[in-house]
Amino acid sequence: MNVEPEYVIDAERFAWRSWAGDVVIFDRLSGDSWMMERPAGRILEFIAERGSPSFAAKRDCAVERASLSTESGREPDKVLATLIELGILIRFENTRSVD
């Protein structure tokens, strides 16, 4: 059984709006806003819009992960780690199997 982690945005602390993969995030705690361009923003947009059960296996998101690596040279997992470190994303282990 292949078990993938799930990611959700901390919606109590952050508000966000996205436009074609570019995301602006508002931090209710600090009052700061910042922008995340695609393809990194697209991954966040994906999580925000559709939730993230079996995130890594979703085809669209897999495309964005590949795009992120290609276009920016950044590892998707490092982006996700940064988002978790910033408190935007909460990661928890999925107990469901992924197809």
Binding site: A15, R17, S18, W19, A20, D22, V23, V24, F26, R28, G31, D32, S33, W34, M35, E37, G41
Partner: protein, 304 residues
């Protein structure tokens, strides 16, 4: 009653007594002053604005007074006050009217947090607003004044006021502040427009004010919907570049130019995001007024 219905002596008498009340869009200022030149400047630059008797509510009670003592004779200075409080150091007496204008702007952007306030100019055509957010020195006032003389209605030269409840822009339509070379540029571009006598050696260089078009002040109560956001940048003899920008970039640039975005918290975020949804954004680098206005008129299509 309009300011033009008063004589200069009549304006001066009110300024020296209980104050001259002027309605500038959503705000009423009560202005008191004994400084030279204020009555004359108000008479021509605010000629189409409404004025009311001194009794009654005013949003801001401001004054431009002369500093007292021996200095008054040797080197006159002007002091701006709001409710008797002096927020700034005095300026030379000849800069009294410029100080009044800057002080009125300060009153609004430090107090009127019921509005999202963005540093920039705004104009309207057919109910749709074009905003030009930019810091000082970018050429926004020059472009704003030029557009006002090419069929656009002035909403504001300096402070873009947006009501977060209905996302409409409110008009201020006060005189357009022109600086340095733009004064002569606009004299040539719009020879029929009234531009005040330049005030030299201010902190912003030489400053003059253009009277808002009569249409701008007559329709000051008409709100407008945001349609276009253009970030202007003037560069001498630069070729015109008018490039579309993405929504998120537009959002961040608007927030960077806002006076009170952080003060408003999530309300400001939500309002700005909704405004960005309904607007198209551009960056305009220009070296010629005629070229940029032609390009804007060609590019800024009205809503279907």
């Amino acid at each position: 009653m309009k300011i033009r219905d008063l004589s200069i002596e009549g304006i001066d008498a009110r300024l020296r007594a209980d104050g001259l009340r002027i309605e500038t869009g959503p705000f009423i200022f009560n202005i008191a002053s004994r400084a030279r030149g204020i009555a004359e400047a108000l008479h021509v630059l605010y000629s189409d604005f409404r004025t009311y008797p001194a009794e009654g509510f005013s949003d801001f009670h401001v004054s431009v007074r002369l500093a007292g003592g021996l200095r008054r004779l040797l080197r006159p200075q002007s002091i701006f006050q709001l409710d008797g409080i002096t927020p700034f150091k005095p300026l030379p007496g000849k800069q009294a009217f410029a100080m009044l204008e800057w002080g009125m702007n300060w009153c609004i952007y430090t107090h009127a947090h019921q509005y999202l306030i963005i540093h920039g100019a705004a104009l309207e055509r057919n109910g749709e607003a074009l905003v030009l957010p930019a810091p000082s020195g970018s050429g926004k006032s020059t472009l704003c004044a030029a557009l006002m003389n090419r069929g656009w209605r002035l909403l504001s030269d300096e402070l873009i006021l947006i009501d977060p409840k209905d996302l409409k822009l409110r008009a201020l339509s006060r005189p357009v502040s022109l600086k340095n070379r733009s004064i002569d540029v606009l004299r040539e571009f719009a020879p029929d427009a009234y531009i005040s006598t330049p005030i030299r050696n201010t902190s912003k260089g030489t400053v003059a004010h253009m009277r808002p078009s009569r249409d701008s002040t007559e329709r000051i109560g008409e709100h407008a919907s945001l349609r276009w956001v253009v970030f202007p940048r003037f560069e001498e003899k630069a070729p015109l570049r008018l490039n579309a920008i993405g929504k998120a970039e537009m959002f961040m640039a608007l927030a960077d130019n806002a006076f009170n975005y952080t003060v408003m918290g999530e309300l400001g975020f939500s309002a700005l995001a909704s405004l960005v949804d309904q607007a198209s954004g551009f960056r305009a680098d220009y070296g010629s007024l005629e070229a940029v206005i032609t390009a804007l008129n060609d590019t800024l299509e009205p809503a279907p």
